[in-house]
Structure formats: C-alpha cells, structure tokens
C-alpha cells in the first residue's frame, strides 16, 4: 500500500516533467480549461439561457460532444480485439493507450452531461430514485461508469505491474478485458438507444442509428489513437511497432467505409420515400423555408469524410503526414456528423412543426473547449506516465529521475531487456 502511494507520487511528479513542447501543451490546456470553467460559472449563475438552446432545440453542443466521446471511449477496444482475440502479441502494450483514451473520454462524457444539467446540485437524486430499467438514461449512467471502472482497473493494473516489474496475473485482468470488449459495444449502443427510442423524433427513430454510431466511432477512435501513437513514436523513446499503424489504418478505413455506406442507406430512405418523416433530413441537407444553418456543417462533414477515405484507400496515406491528415479530417468530419448532423437536426422542426434554428453561443463553446482541454490534459498526463513505465525507466527499483522525455541521449545499459530504443 505504501509502495502504491509512492508510485502515485512518482507519477504525479513525472506528469510535470517534459520538454518544451510538453510544457507548452500542458500550459495551453489548463488555460483553455479555466476559460471553460469561467464560462460554466456564468452558466451556473444565469442558467442554461446563456447557451443557444431553447425549448425547441433543447439539446445542443453538450449532448453532441457527449455522444461523440462515448464513441471515442467505445473505440478503445478496437485495439484490444486484435490483441486478445487474434492473439496479436506485438501490439500488447498498445492496448493500454487505447484504454487510457477510454478513461479520458469517459471523464469528458461525464463532464458534458453534468454541464448539460439544469440542476447539477441535485445529481444525488440519481442515487436516491433511479428509474431503472425503464429510462435509457439510467442504463447509460450504469454502462458509462462501469466502463470507466473496468478500464481504470485494466490499465491501472497493467501499468502498476510493469512498474513493479511483475508479470501481470492473467486471472486479474483477462476476464476484465473480455468484459470490456462487450461492454464497449454496449456503451455506444445504449447511447444510441437514448435517441432511437423516442417515437416523437422521427429523425432519430431509426434502427440504423446504433450501427452507424458504432461504425463512426470505430473510425474516429482508432484514428485518434493512430495520431497519438505517431506523436508518441516520434517524440518519445517509446517505439511503436509499425504493425500497429497498419492495423489501426485498416480498422479506420474499414469502419469509415461502413459508416459512409450506412449514411447512404439512411439518406436514400429519407429522401426517396419523400415522407413527412424526412423533413429534418431535408432541413439538414438542403435547408427548409430559407432556413439553412446546418447545411454548411453537414456538407463539410461529408467532404471531410470523403477526402479522408480517398487518402486512406490510395497509396497517398503511406506518407505519415497524409495519414495523420486523413485521421484528423475524419475525426472532425465524424464529430460534425454526430453533433450538428445527428443531435441538433432531430429538433428541427419542432414536433409541432416550428422551425427554430440553433447556434451555440460563446459561453457554450468555451465550456465545450474547456472540457476538451481538460480531457486532453488527462489523456496527456496518463500517456506521459505510462510511457516511461512501459519502457522500463520508471520502475520500483530505479531511482527516480523526471528527465526521460528525450529519446536520443538516454542510455539504458542497466535494463536493456525492458527498454526500447529508437532505431
């Protein structure tokens, strides 16, 4: 126990050490997070009226970001599956990066639902009267928190074992890994069911939403991991096996193709049928009665996703720069698709046919950016701690030194077996 406290303390100290890029990044993030906190304080004082939401469009950017990030969290398993189901041992350590992403993403999800509450002071009511199993929101509370615990356990255990230089006992984590795989699918499915189950919102009331959620998440999440691993590989001494990039790239490409296919299915159904149910889709893609606030969003999402797909399926993406660009494009494209393309249009027109548009306010945007900064900060710190542990330089029997960010001058003659060095 004492040893564990020492481990945490060392981790805490490591999280402050890094080169100038790391320092700049870790200064920038708290500044943005505090701007967000400031905007949230204003929202607490004046109510949700400081956002662009209304009785017509009663969910906006907060729930959109929440939905997107549930997907990111779920997508962490896309690294786990090749390792544990297809026994791809080479990628074993990389699983941890995926699970750390899941942890950070769930933190962001919980923050986004909290800022969306009109009465966050009453959140304990969830513990005192819980409408389970009728309300899908209660399912979401359970699956998200359960997923958070699972991932905290798995990566916490593996990292601590690496720190203690012990071989992890399979019984302590393999069952959890397999639970997490199924659980990951459940978090995004349950989140889709939040929307799909509402008969009064025809735009959501479609069975394709859940599969589309999963497909888009399995494109955006691994794309984010790919960019992260590229940064890790390039700027730290941790060597990411090239096979990891290959695996991730094929997952991203396949998921993106499936996502685009499902989008085509949906667009066809909405427009060819020409029924009254398609009115939100018409508003989204082409505007309605001269109102077209969402039109630029959805077409840029489609352009970004198509562009990313072209890069991914052609040899262009063999160049790391373009591969990263493709990943960033599709992350942004899918973010728009989930937010401005899926959450907001379901409210326009309102169930009584009123056309009220939605545009986020500055405060609302700052709160969102603040939560993103907070989440990216959490992820950065977690990765920052994990790398020296996995490469064997932050272990129980090594004397503490915060200065192991630079990859070149480090000599590892003490433990060549555990350390990686960059070729």
């Amino acid at each position: 126990m004492k040893e564990y406290g020492r481990f945490l303390f060392r981790c805490f100290r490591v999280s402050f050490a890094g080169d100038w890029r790391y320092q700049a990044w870790m200064t920038f993030l708290p500044v943005v997070a505090l701007l967000g906190l400031n905007a949230y304080a204003k929202q607490l004082v004046h109510g949700l009226g400081v956002t662009g939401m209304s009785d017509q469009v009663s969910w906006g950017l907060y729930i959109a970001n929440f939905t997107f990030l549930v997907g990111m969290a779920a997508a962490a398993v896309m690294l786990v599956i090749p390792v544990y189901i297809y026994k791809n041992r080479e990628l074993h350590d990389l699983v941890i990066f995926g699970e750390l992403l899941a942890v950070a993403a769930i933190f962001m999800c919980l923050a986004f639902v909290t800022v969306d509450l009109g009465r966050p002071d009453r959140f304990t009511h969830l513990l005192r009267r819980f409408n389970f199993p009728i309300s899908m929101l209660t399912w979401d509370v359970i699956v998200l928190n359960g997923y958070l615990l699972l991932n905290l356990h798995i990566c916490g255990y593996l990292v601590y074992c690496a720190y203690r230089r012990r071989t992890p006992s399979r019984a302590f984590y393999i069952p959890f890994v397999f639970t997490a795989i199924v659980w990951a699918v459940s978090i995004h499915t349950v989140t889709a069911f939040l929307y799909v189950g509402l008969g009064g919102r025809p735009f959501w009331n479609s069975a394709i939403i859940a599969p589309r959620f999963l497909a888009s998440a399995f494109a955006a999440g691994p794309a984010f991991l790919l960019v992260t691993l590229w940064i890790v590989d390039r700027y730290t001494d941790y060597v990411v096996p090239p096979k990891a990039f290959q695996t991730l790239k094929s997952i991203v490409t396949l998921a993106l193709i499936i996502n685009m296919f499902l989008l085509v299915c949906e667009v066809f159904t909405e427009f060819y049928t020409d029924s009254a149910h398609g009115v939100s889709a018409r508003y989204l893609f082409f505007g309605l009665h001269g109102k077209n606030a969402l039109v630029p969003w959805i077409w840029s999402a489609i352009a970004l996703n198509t562009g990313a797909l072209v890069l991914l399926v052609t040899p262009l993406s063999r160049r790391p720069g373009l591969l990263n660009l493709a990943c960033l494009m599709l992350i942004v494209g899918i973010w728009i698709e989930k937010g401005m393309g899926l959450i907001v249009p379901a409210f326009i027109p309102s169930p009584l046919g009123e056309l009220v548009e939605y545009a986020p306010t500055l405060e609302e945007t700052l709160v969102c950016l603040g939560i993103w900064a907070f989440g990216l900060g959490v992820y950065t710190v977690l990765v920052r701690i994990t790398i020296p542990v996995l490469s064997g330089r932050l272990t129980i029997d090594r004397l503490y030194s915060p200065d192991y960010t630079r990859k070149v001058p480090v000599k590892l003659e003490h433990h060549p077996d555990t350390a990686g060095s960059h070729p």
């Binding site: 959140f123 819980f130 919102r201």
Partner: protein, 330 residues
C-alpha cells in the same frame, strides 16, 4: 540531469520556487475563473431543507407540511406576497379528459393568457404551456401550421385554429425517460412534475411528441402584483431555474370541481373538460358522439386530449349507413 545518476538530488531551491510559483498562479487562475459565482445571491442557492427534501411520493404528512411551509416562506421572501400553498391530491374514480372543438376555436389566444396568469408562468423569459396553431384549411399536418400569426382580428376565413398543450397521455413517453422519476402519471391521468426533484436533463422535452414541456432556462420572473397566490405543490407554485414544467390541467382547480383556467377563458366554448369515467359527463358524450381524433395517433401515446369537429350537416339515417356498409363489403 543524467537519468542514470546514482542518487536523486533533493528538489533544489530553484525547482521548489518554480513549483511554488506554478501552483500559486494555477490556484489564483482557478479562483479568477470561478469569480462569476460571486454574483450568486444567497437566496438563489437551494436551502439545506430543499436540498435534503425527499421525493414527493416519499414525503410523510409532516414532511409535506414542512415543504409547503418552506415554499410559502420562499414566495413571501421573494415577492412579499402571502400565498396559500397546498398539496391537492387526486380523487378516486376520476379520469380527466379534455376535448377541443376545432369548429369553434377562433384562435384568440385568450386561453394562453389565462393559463400564464393562473399558473404563474415566467413572463421573462416568456414561457407558455399552450401553443395555438393557425392551420390552412385542407390539412391537419402541424408542419403547415403558423405559430406566430398576428392579424388585427381573428379568425381568418381561410384558416382554422388548433391549440396544443400537454395531452396527458395514458402512455406518456416523457415519464418513461425520466432518469430520476421526477415526473409521473397520477391516478386521475394527469402527468405531474416534482419541481424539487427534477435535475433538468430535458430528456422528457426531447421525448414529448407534442412539444408540451418547457424548461426554465433562466430564473423565472413574475411581477408581484400578477402572482397568483392560490398555489399547489405539483402545479402552479413558482418554479426554480433549471427545471422542466408543463400543463397540469390546472390540477389545483379541477381536483376541487372547478374547470381549468384555459376553459373558463374561452369565449366561444370550444373547450370541454371532465371526468370520462362518468358516462353522463360532457366529455364522455363527445367521445361517444362526435368525430373525434387525436394528434399523432401513430406514436402510440394514447392522449387524453381530443380534438373534434361539430357536424355541420345532417347525418344519414342509421339504416342507410348499415346498408351502405354491407354494399361496400361485397
């Protein structure tokens, strides 16, 4: 520092100072970020009693009295008005139903105003439970209705008028989705909200197919002289910021034999209300005899709010009807 140096130097004065400065500036930045909270008045914050209060359905008689007393004090403090705050329970053997005669409604919106006055709805920002749609003749598609018609006089000859408010569904999607059971259907069919329990997630707003629910995006403002001092816990007492509210068929009135405020305000008698379990009631007769329909029947909500048209021409004799039916069946 050489990572493999045999000893760890204790933190130097320089690094200690640097750490201290970082921590101090971080703390002060966090405090500065939270500074808008200073604007919060102590009266804006929930009192300890309110914070610890149980769910409406769990309140014992004494606890209910305490809650009503607390609400009374809050109203007194804020508006300097002495209200009567009661907890009005449903009666046995009653199921309320509303029927609205579309042949009669002239779209004057008097019901909207009466509702705002009776139910202490926020004047700023404006919040109303009833929305009157101006519909072109020849359709019942709400998407073709005009929400913001503004003629010098009503009715307009080329339109009819369709007021929409909470339909008090027998299968309410809003109740189903609430994660904390802050909203439920009472035995007389009225769906209510415990404003002291709602967490403001607005899932119910997303679920309602009739756009019947409203959220308090800001602290509701009501002039003291317009405050209705006859209040009840589940209906028209002033609502706090950040919670959802809705039409309750004026339960504090109808459970004591009065009519809803919107009905009393209607100048043309388009609104009918009563206990559908009583076969002699006007609404029971309307459901038996009139050409009645409900909005969005396909969503399966089973509304207790019915629209109907008066017949404007004599009905064919029943025998002819039957004969015609048999003819068609062949």
């Amino acid at each position: 520092m050489d990572p493999n140096s045999p000893a760890v130097a204790p933190p130097s004065r320089r690094s200690f100072l640097r750490g201290a400065v970082t921590v101090a500036s971080g703390m002060s930045a966090a405090v500065a970020a939270l500074s808008p909270l200073k604007e919060l008045d102590s009266s804006d914050l929930p009192t300890l009693d309110a914070f610890l209060q149980k769910h409406y359905l769990e309140l014992g008689p004494g606890e209910m009295q305490a809650a009503l007393e607390r609400i009374r004090n809050e109203v007194q403090k804020r508006w300097d008005v002495d209200p009567v705050v009661r907890d009005v329970r449903p009666r046995e053997g009653v199921e309320f139903v509303y029927a609205l005669n579309l042949s009669r409604c002239i779209g004057c919106r008097r019901c909207v105003h009466a509702c705002v006055a009776e139910n202490n709805q926020s004047r700023a920002p404006e919040l109303q439970y009833i929305r009157v749609l101006e519909m072109p003749l020849g359709t019942t598609d709400v998407e073709r209705g005009n929400h913001h018609y503004d003629h010098a006089t009503v009715p307009d000859a080329l339109h009819y008028y369709m007021p929409v408010q909470c339909h008090q569904c027998a299968n309410p999607p809003c109740v189903k989705v609430c994660p904390v059971e802050a909203t439920w259907q009472e035995s007389d069919g009225i769906t209510v909200i415990d404003y002291d329990w709602c967490i403001g997630c607005r899932y119910c707003e997303a679920a309602c197919p009739y756009w019947a629910r409203r959220f308090n995006y800001a602290q509701p403002e009501i002039p003291a002289e317009e405050l209705n001092p006859e209040m009840s816990y589940l209906s028209n007492r002033p609502r706090p910021v950040g919670v959802v509210e809705k039409c309750t068929f004026c339960l504090h009135r109808v459970r004591e034999g009065k009519m809803p405020a919107c009905l009393e305000a209607c100048p043309v008698g388009a609104r009918k209300f009563g206990n559908v379990l009583d076969p002699e009631s006007e609404v029971a007769r309307i459901l038996r005899e009139k050409r009645v329909f409900v909005l969005k029947e396909d969503v399966g909500t089973l509304p207790r709010f019915f629209y109907y048209f008066d017949e404007r021409y004599p009905r064919p004799a029943d025998e002819e009807d039957a004969a015609l039916g048999q003819e068609t069946a062949k």
